[in-house]
Symmetry: C2
Subunit: 107 residues, 2 copies
């Protein structure tokens, strides 16, 4: 995976205390959808259930893939819902990978 990931998108967020069922449904669908995008390389996501803070890293081969994913209609709807219901606050950082080392086990 290391060699193909050129772009890393970091999504940092804090979940609201409501809408847990809807959130999990949308989050699962979005991960499924992201993994199906052309140019998708990998995704890793962690949330602390106590602080409700989460970080998702999504890796793509190129910027066009990132834009296509950002603009995917179902993802757009999920973003809208996220702002309204799911997240107290969030921050997206798009970055270009310079180097990568170590290796985490993949599913």
């Amino acid at each position: 995976m290391v060699d193909r990931a050129q772009i890393m998108v970091a999504f940092v967020s804090r979940r609201t205390v409501e809408h847990d069922d809807a959130y999990h449904e949308v989050a699962e669908r979005m991960e499924q959808l992201a993994r199906a995008q052309p140019g998708f390389v990998d995704l890793v996501s962690v949330r602390d259930p106590i602080t409700r803070q989460g970080i998702t890293l999504a890796y793509f081969t190129n910027e066009d893939a990132v834009r296509a994913w950002r603009d995917h209609p179902e993802h757009r709807e999920a973003q809208r819902r996220g702002i309204l219901d799911f997240y107290e606050d969030y921050e997206v950082t798009v970055s270009s990978v310079t180097r990568q080392y170590g290796r985490i086990a993949r599913e």
Copy 2:
């Protein structure tokens, strides 16, 4: 913070099931030390206590700051200890920030 962060370092890891006390002590010290580095901008860290997977994002103003932090003697010792005792596996990705939007609440 957004404007000053040029480099984002992502540290993805899975904790071993041992050495919890030592780990927390070292992790706390490392965060303290990172925040004191010249060129340090921000740090956000999340670990899921069930899966033991964690992601830490550290933001720096420039590459020299990242290298200085990587090579800090106390951090070097913590890295060695991390590989030996604290992590099942880990992955470091160094990247150059392209854009950032949204905003998470800072301490």
